[in-house]
Symmetry: D2
């Protein structure tokens, strides 16, 4: 299996089977799944908490392995929610990307970290 071969649908099916075989649909309410995604996201963050941005780009192989697993968990719970709510993720992502492309026109935002840089003191003083 590799990213070039596998469709979103195939991953959704794999997760759906896993949940169904364990009769876990009862726990996988959208509310609970949203908590699960947030919890896995925090576990991912934990790997980077005390690193500088630069350090976060120079990870050991075993760290990368663990980080990959956290990413997998986040995507799996997201797929499970999409299954539950019958959301077509590819279609939704396509629409969201088109929206983002309009919202952040290349010539306006190139190289700029949008909104929150307006927060900095030097700009206030300038």
């Amino acid at each position: 299996m590799s990213d070039k071969q596998v469709t979103i649908h195939e991953l959704k099916e794999r997760m759906a089977t896993f949940v169904r075989e364990r009769d876990w649909q009862q726990f996988h309410s959208p509310k609970n799944l949203s908590m699960s995604i947030a919890i896995e996201a925090a576990e991912l963050m934990e790997h980077f908490q005390w690193l500088t941005a630069e350090q976060s780009q120079q990870l050991k192989r075993e760290a990368l392995q663990e980080i990959g697993e956290e990413l997998a968990d986040i995507v799996l719970y997201s797929l499970s929610m999409a299954n539950f709510l019958q959301i077509d993720l590819a279609e939704t992502i396509d629409a969201k990307m088109a929206k983002n492309e309009r919202k952040y026109p290349i010539d306006k935002v190139r190289g700029k970290a949008h909104k929150y840089t307006s927060y900095l003191q030097q700009e206030e003083d300038a």
Copy 2:
């Protein structure tokens, strides 16, 4: 575009192009991306915060639309991190699912919400 047609690789490429065209790789360090995923996950949770698990299964069309967009954001930032760290997500998810299948054998966990139910008082008293 639909889940049946689109591969993980195609979504990764779309996101990579979006980031590259805006010269945003400099902001998309793994550390920052892990924060982004966690922030989007919290926005997703916000939709369910005050609902019961049952209510969270009876959502209006417009709520579903917004929830779909939050899910899209979570997956997009996850793809961006996979791009940055050169992680093959399909392969990683495949390995993680295999691990989960071994960890939660069907005959042992069927219908049970694993670890945290051991927390409940009634069981303590029983």
Copy 3:
């Protein structure tokens, strides 16, 4: 020590000393501390993830113990950020409560779970 005796200032001082003695101010940037709070919040959530709202009210003593520690961590990191940014928490909380009291007038919101209930399907159909 008990809630009736201890002021916010005393807790802030205790945390400030802990951080200073370990020369950890360098890691306790507001950015890192915001991640720490979010990570501890997720660890707290983990205790409730698969429980119903009702079950989350019937916890064993040892669960309560662990939950108390997570709450302590969240408050400690919040105090550390207040220290770093020289925020008077009592004053800020007082102002925020006054704002909330105006935003949610008792006679309008009594017994209602504000915004997100408008999300439910039955209301759409009604």
Copy 4:
């Protein structure tokens, strides 16, 4: 009101009154409150998401104001959970600090960002 005068108990009482007057105890289950804390923590993080650690220390007055409000929300929901579960926060924090002081002896950890630095590549190669 200021941090030097206000006890934890007084803040807990203020929050308890606010919740009781609105009959919101029914929504403030520990499960829901844990979600609320995590959501507010993410809103806090949002202020720092695209800033460097250095930039996160040079905030404008209006940013500080907003950040103070997010911190207030986090502490208020934490107090509400402590109210609900009848947890004495000062006592719990005292015990947790004592535990941390033993876990991170000054002479061993001074100036070191504990666990996750072992993640960096240079150390692997060294």
